[in-house]
């Protein structure tokens, strides 16, 4: 080494701990989680979702109703008596039906979100990581799927086959993972040029190690947002399909069917039959959207930090 004849460089010789510079925030919990826990919208949305899950899955255990047999003696009863929300045209308790119908909506929402996120994230990440012709080919497949109008395909399929919950889950997943893969691929492409990824390469990481250890944690904030939106969208799609009478046949219960029956009965002046399903649907979709929005805010605030 050259001796320090050059006067410009002074300062402490040798490393000295710079304890004072460390910010007061203690490591231990990730910053994003911290932000999330302190975000009122996110927490409010989560609370509503939690209540909905309890209502739909624990509710029927406490509030037992007959949801399978038609009992016309009890048809179209107004709220009150043994039926807090009244009964529908088949004499089935509306509160109980709301719980059972919610089960299918939530199951579908979560299933579609999880399937499309896992497939989409892996597909997009691997496509972006490998790049080149392989990437171009995979992305053209995505383009093709994105070009398919979701609802029209659902309508065609529903008119050709009798759909059950599983087939609707698969159809919706098939059409929603390309969105996730697009986003994740974009993020992976930008992460590839980041220095910490290059640093990992210089240390001898395999590409898969880089992908799963270094890139995936950094795409998390992106696909978690799309996941929550996917839940809301899937619930909405199922309801819309059922509303048009193309959902799974009875005894399958869901909010969309309740809504369409309720609308018919609205003109027969049984208004209690339409509002419960409507409100449940709006509350659920709003709750998931709130969580998604809050996560989006947190993610974008962090990226500018």
């Amino acid at each position: 080494m050259q001796s320090a004849e050059h006067g410009a460089i002074t300062g402490s010789v040798g490393p000295a701990p710079e304890g004072g510079e460390v910010s007061s925030r203690t490591g231990g919990r990730s910053l994003a989680l911290d932000d999330f826990l302190h975000n009122k919208r996110a927490m409010g949305g989560c609370a509503v979702v939690l209540l909905l899950i309890l209502f739909c899955f624990v509710g029927p255990l406490l509030y037992r109703t007959n949801q399978t047999t038609v009992n016309l003696n009890l048809a179209n009863l107004p709220p009150g008596g043994g039926h807090p929300l009244g009964t529908d045209e088949y004499g089935i308790d509306i509160l109980g039906r709301l719980m059972v119908g919610g089960q299918s909506s939530l199951e579908l929402g979560f299933a579609v979100a999880i399937i499309s996120t896992v497939i989409g994230a892996l597909y997009g990440a691997i496509s972006g990581m490998i790049g080149g012709i392989f990437d171009a080919f995979l992305m053209r497949i995505v383009d093709t799927l994105l070009a398919v109008p979701t609802f029209i395909l659902l309508l065609i399929m529903a008119s050709m086959f009798t759909l059950n919950l599983l087939s609707i889950i698969l159809l919706l997943s098939l059409l929603s993972w390309p969105y996730v893969s697009r986003l994740v691929r974009g993020q992976v492409l930008s992460l590839r040029t980041r220095e910490f990824v290059q640093a990992s390469t210089t240390m001898g990481s395999t590409r898969m190690r880089i992908l799963f250890r270094h890139m995936m944690p950094n795409t998390f904030n992106i696909f978690i947002v799309t996941t929550t939106f996917a839940v809301a969208d899937a619930i909405y799609s199922l309801s819309a399909l059922s509303f048009l009478g193309l959902g799974p046949p009875p005894p399958f219960a869901d909010w969309g069917t309740m809504l369409t029956n309720g609308v018919n009965d609205l003109f027969d002046s049984y208004p209690w039959e339409v509002y419960p399903a409507l409100i449940a649907l709006v509350v659920t979709v709003l709750a998931f959207r709130q969580i998604g929005d809050a996560l989006n805010d947190i993610a974008s605030a962090r990226s500018t930090r």
Binding site: M1, A16, V22, F196, G204
Partner: protein, 370 residues
């Protein structure tokens, strides 16, 4: 290691390269980036000559400074040596074996001995990983020891770079720039490499903590017997740390020399101009010396000038500079190489920025119009 280091199972020393032996040899190294165009069939329409025919040797234990203005290819050269980029042509020998054609898989073993410190300490650490995980990443990649051994090694490394054990569970955003760069240094040293490429390790740091990081690197070199390639655009920093300095211009090494010699007797006009731009802390001296301002911009590396690449901006340039490319040959004392048709007078000892025109031929500017 000097401080009773934890011996990691798989980290025995390889075939030792004695101090002074050639550790790295680059021979006619070229890196061109293709510029492609076309919708379906991508055709190469041009290429960026980022590193163009660079040859040098690096001896174990020395520090080679690499200077040049932005875009001259010094970072690309560093990334070629670290094999982050594929090399277009030429050979790159590390410890006697040519690694220029090695695949990713073959490179894994080499990378244990060849590490890199990055420019931006904010970008080079994964924001989602704790310091312990960041530093231990190379150890876990190479499966160097048990969990317990790795943990002890992390603590040892933290101490080595002047951080404390309590930092192990923190995230990078909780640290200052200087501390982050120390984490980057600790990570680069985790596998006890032989060669460390430092790509502008201090240019992103506050001036007040640059000295700390530089002195840390300096101390670690003495302690661990490291070899450095030190890239910077700050000539003061490079002078402080380097044994030898290479000056790059538009993808080529135009001058390479022992460090002090370069500052005393620059041979290449570009070096002269670079040196004249170094701020001098003495106002009297500063006022008396002449600043050589280079006119125009750096030419495009897509279509570099003919002959000597510096000729459009060189005040000594003549016809021969435009026609023929000067070879990198010895000028003056041993080990002082420069690529110039009109080397600055070796007799002029008046300091780093003597302004004696050497040109005996017709200046280029007069004939250019004809």
């Amino acid at each position: 290691m000097t401080d009773g280091a934890v011996e990691l199972a798989l980290l025995e020393e390889g075939p030792a390269v004695a101090k002074g032996d050639v550790l790295l040899r680059a021979d006619h190294l070229k890196k061109y980036f293709p510029i492609k165009s076309g919708i379906l069939i991508q055709r190469e329409v041009a290429r960026v000559h980022a590193v163009d025919d660079v040859s040098f040797e690096l001896r174990a234990g020395e520090t080679l400074g690499l200077v040049g203005e932005s875009g001259c290819g010094k970072s690309t050269l560093a990334r070629c040596i670290a094999r982050l980029y594929d090399i277009t042509s030429g050979s790159l020998e590390f410890e006697g074996t040519d690694i220029s054609k090695y695949s990713r898989r073959q490179l894994r073993a080499v990378r244990r001995d060849l590490q890199m410190i990055f420019q931006d300490p904010y970008a080079s650490l994964n924001p989602r990983k704790r310091v312990g995980a960041i530093i231990s990443d190379p150890l876990r990649i190479h499966r160097a020891g048990s969990r317990d051994q790795i943990r002890r090694r992390i603590l040892e490394l933290l101490e080595l770079v002047g951080l404390s054990a309590e930092h192990i569970n923190r995230y990078p955003h909780e640290f200052s720039g200087g501390q982050r760069q120390r984490i980057g240094v600790a990570r680069a040293l985790a596998l006890k490499p032989k060669l460390v490429i430092a790509d502008e390790p201090v240019s992103a740091l506050d001036v007040s903590i640059r000295a700390q990081v530089i002195n840390l690197l300096d101390d670690l070199q003495d302690e661990l017997g490291l070899t450095y390639i030190f890239i910077a655009h700050d000539l003061g920093v490079v002078r402080h740390v380097s044994d030898r300095i290479a000056v790059m211009y538009l993808g080529k090494i135009v001058e390479i020399s022992p460090a002090e010699e370069l500052y005393q007797r620059p041979v290449h006009p570009y070096t002269e101009a670079l040196l004249s731009a170094v701020p001098v802390p003495d106002p009297d001296l500063s006022a008396s010396r002449q600043r050589l301002v280079l006119e125009g911009d750096v030419p495009s590396p897509i279509d570099p000038p003919s002959g000597c690449r510096f000729h459009p901006r060189c005040r000594y340039a003549t016809q021969v500079c435009k026609a023929a490319e000067p070879p990198l040959v010895q000028h003056g004392s041993l080990g002082h190489l420069a690529a110039c048709h009109h080397p600055l007078s070796l007799q002029t000892q008046v300091g780093a920025w003597a302004t004696v025109p050497v040109s005996a031929e017709t200046p280029l500017s007069e004939t250019a119009t004809t």
